[in-house]
């Protein structure tokens, strides 16, 4: 399935000599502009046939055999139901992975081809078993899962799963569970719903919204899921397949997505803090008046310790932070940076999960996303370490609980964060009120503080016992 801007559609080119009738098949009611199609010679192989609905270009094999006939039927079904215009781009903007969306649409189309009475067992090109084995050996679970969805119900499914089993047998059971759910989604709807191209108020065609989008969302979620390693993990994996249930464990942090923040408000009207302080010794006499007024006669100037620092604050559901507290922080610590983070569980990189709350005596005025999970504890710590100037204090305001991109805690994630805390002497405090003290006394976490630092504290305690 390709997408192009319909307005930029070129005129029809000379067509190949293939008897195929997309104009008859494309009976749609989504505002699709009917017109002559360009037919291009394709082959009955994966990737060698396509349907570009926006530009009305059909690439199909012309051979008289059953496989070619099924490939033609498959591409004609795209001409019949696949969305036009910017529908795909809008779905991508929602955070649905483009590959997941394409494969979900393949699953819908193959289902409809079968409903139209074609024997979809012929939809295979003989390369599926090798492809399954190779992708499993490469450890590319997202690709393996998407392809399995695209092949669901066709003649390609069985050899592909056999290849997966050969490459990594642990993948087969969870993959079958996802495929089972995909079929449930398709069978929950009537064929008229699945095939409908009637545009809804959402701007999506009915069939696309009713089936392709739920399948694509499911695939997007499970592409980043951790392969279950035992019966309990498999049960959790299966639970996440149904709407309303908790997502499966991903076992990975999400990537940082910074909030676009064009404007800040200055709250520290005094400006920057002074850069030197009186001292008995030094190279320049900055405070001669102190010779008379200061009993200790501290007339020399000494470079003041920068009262900057980086404060990372977990703003997930378990933590709370008011605007007044942030403003107070910016006033008291004008040279420190206060950075918030929280990840929307399951988000694929669309919703920002990190933002500057205060820096240089200014506070952010933009609205902060109301995310729920942590999701990016590790990446935000790494970012802070990379931004640290010299030995300036680095404080992490959190409850010691870290979670993956689907908001599940994970021991290896806690270990990852604990290692960073220990190695880079990151101070952990449970709330913003303790930050002033932490900035004034930069040091790592003391053993006495471990018990109140959740999972990270426990890992730090275990680590100190071993050492």
């Amino acid at each position: 399935m390709k997408t192009y801007d319909r307005t930029a559609a070129p005129g029809p080119k000379k067509s190949a000599s293939i008897k195929v009738y997309p104009a008859i098949a494309a009976q749609r009611n989504d505002g699709f502009v009917p017109g002559p199609w360009t037919i291009e010679e394709g082959r009955a192989m994966r990737g060698a046939a396509s349907c570009d609905v926006n530009n009305r270009v059909l690439q199909v094999p012309g051979a008289p055999d059953q496989v070619a006939r099924l490939v033609r039927a498959h591409e004609l079904t795209h001409a019949r139901v696949s969305p036009t215009g910017d529908v795909l781009e809008r779905a991508w903007a929602e955070g649905i992975h483009p590959h997941a969306l394409a494969c979900a649409e393949e699953a819908r189309v193959n289902f409809l081809v079968a409903q139209a009475g074609f024997d979809v067992e012929f939809l295979c090109d003989g390369t599926e078993k090798d492809a399954g084995e190779k992708v499993a050996q490469l450890g590319d679970w997202p690709e393996a899962l998407c392809f399995a969805a695209a092949a669901k119900g066709t003649g390609a499914e069985k050899p592909y799963l056999a290849g997966i089993r050969k490459g990594n047998k642990d993948w087969v059971t969870p993959m079958r569970q996802v495929l089972k759910r995909i079929i449930e989604i398709l069978e929950e709807q009537s064929t008229s719903y699945i095939a409908s191209t009637e545009l809804l108020e959402s701007g999506y065609p009915l069939g696309f919204e009713a089936t392709t989008l739920p399948i694509a969302r499911l695939l997007t979620t499970y592409m980043s899921a951790e392969i279950p390693d035992g019966p309990e993990a498999l049960r959790a994996f299966k639970r996440g397949l149904h709407p309303g249930n908790r997502r499966p464990v991903s076992g990975k942090f999400a990537n940082l997505v910074w909030l676009d923040q064009p404007e800040f408000e200055r709250v520290n009207l005094r400006g920057d803090t002074r850069k030197s302080r009186p001292s008995l010794s030094g190279v320049s006499m900055r405070y001669p008046n102190r010779y008379l007024t200061d009993p200790q006669k501290r007339v020399m100037g000494k470079k003041a310790r920068a009262d900057g620092g980086i404060v990372i604050i977990d703003q997930s559901g378990s933590m709370d932070l008011s605007a007044d507290v942030v403003r107070e922080f910016a006033k008291r610590h004008p040279r420190a940076r206060l950075v918030g983070y929280s990840h929307r569980p399951g988000d694929g990189g669309v919703t920002p999960n990190a933002w500057i709350l205060a820096a240089n005596g200014k506070v952010a005025t933009s609205e902060i996303p109301a995310n729920i999970g942590n999701g990016v504890d590790g990446p935000i710590l790494r970012w802070a370490i990379s931004q640290r100037r010299g030995s300036e204090p680095l404080v992490w305001v959190c409850d010691g609980q870290v979670t993956d991109s689907h908001d599940h805690p994970g021991h290896h994630l806690s270990v990852e964060c604990a290692e960073l805390v220990a190695k880079h002497k990151i101070r952990i405090v449970p709330n913003l009120y303790e930050v002033a003290n932490a900035l004034a006394h930069p040091r790592g976490v003391r053993p006495s503080e471990y018990p109140r630092l959740g999972r990270v504290g426990r890992v730090l305690a275990d680590r100190s016992k071993k050492n």
Binding site: V33, G35, W37, A195
Partner: protein, 238 residues
């Protein structure tokens, strides 16, 4: 395409006829409704249109007329379609539609050129009455040809028919006589995937009696399977 899905070639033809152009040549592949449109476009009275189909065996007598026995032992001269069109039902002239003009023999083509000459030059003596006839003021000629390239049309004909329109799609009115699921196929077939309008009419009628598959096999032969496949996909979920 225009907004109402009428292919632009037919808009061009309607514009030309409405502008009073009286000599038009329509060319293009068969089965797109050239003759249908030639007979009906801007012609309120279908009886005032006279059709002549050129073949290699067509004689010039079949154009202007021929002597025929009248049953009382004498002969009457029966005028042919060209002269009938000169006169028309009201004496003011009608429309002469000459199909497949590229297939006409040299003699017939010469006769046709004489009949379709400009009103100032065209004249014909009636063999029965010796009356000199001229084309009526409303006499129009629409010739059709199946040639794809206008270069293949004889030069003398091109000289008399400066307005030539390539017809590559059937007119909407002709397509609307088909069932809805076949209309797009009639309008937008390209190259080898073009479906002749007459075949679609026959298929549409026949499938009501014996179903899609049998009708497609009988009308389209080996191509029937591809047409039935497209129809099955068009109907899925409907």
């Amino acid at each position: 395409m225009t907004n109402n899905n009428q292919p632009s070639c037919w808009d061009d033809f309607a514009t030309v006829i409405a502008a009073g152009i009286k000599r038009v040549l329509l060319y293009g592949e068969p089965g797109v409704g050239k003759t249908y449109a030639a007979l009906h476009t801007n012609n309120e009275n279908p009886e005032n249109a006279y059709r002549l189909v050129c073949t290699e065996d067509l004689t010039s007598a079949e154009i202007t007329g021929t002597w025929m026995p009248n049953g009382s032992g004498t002969w009457d001269f029966l005028t042919g379609p060209a002269i009938n069109a000169w006169i028309g039902v009201d004496g003011l002239g009608g429309r002469l539609v000459v199909d497949e003009v590229d297939r006409a023999s040299g003699d017939v083509l010469s006769q046709l050129l004489a009949m379709t000459d400009s009103p100032e030059s065209a004249r014909w003596r009636h063999p029965g009455t010796n009356e000199i006839l001229r084309p009526g003021p409303n006499f129009t000629v629409v010739m059709t040809s199946n040639v794809e390239d206008p270069e293949d049309i004889p030069e003398a004909l091109i000289d008399r028919f400066p307005t030539r329109i390539k017809i590559d799609r059937p007119p909407l009115a002709a397509v609307e006589r088909l069932s809805e699921d076949l209309r797009a196929g009639a309008l937008y077939g390209v190259g080898d995937s073009r479906l002749p309008l007459r075949s679609l009419y026959a298929f549409d009628q026949l499938r009501a009696h014996c179903g899609d598959e049998e009708a497609a096999r009988l009308i389209f032969g080996a191509n029937g399977e591809a047409i039935v496949d497209s129809l099955r996909i068009a109907r899925v979920g409907q």
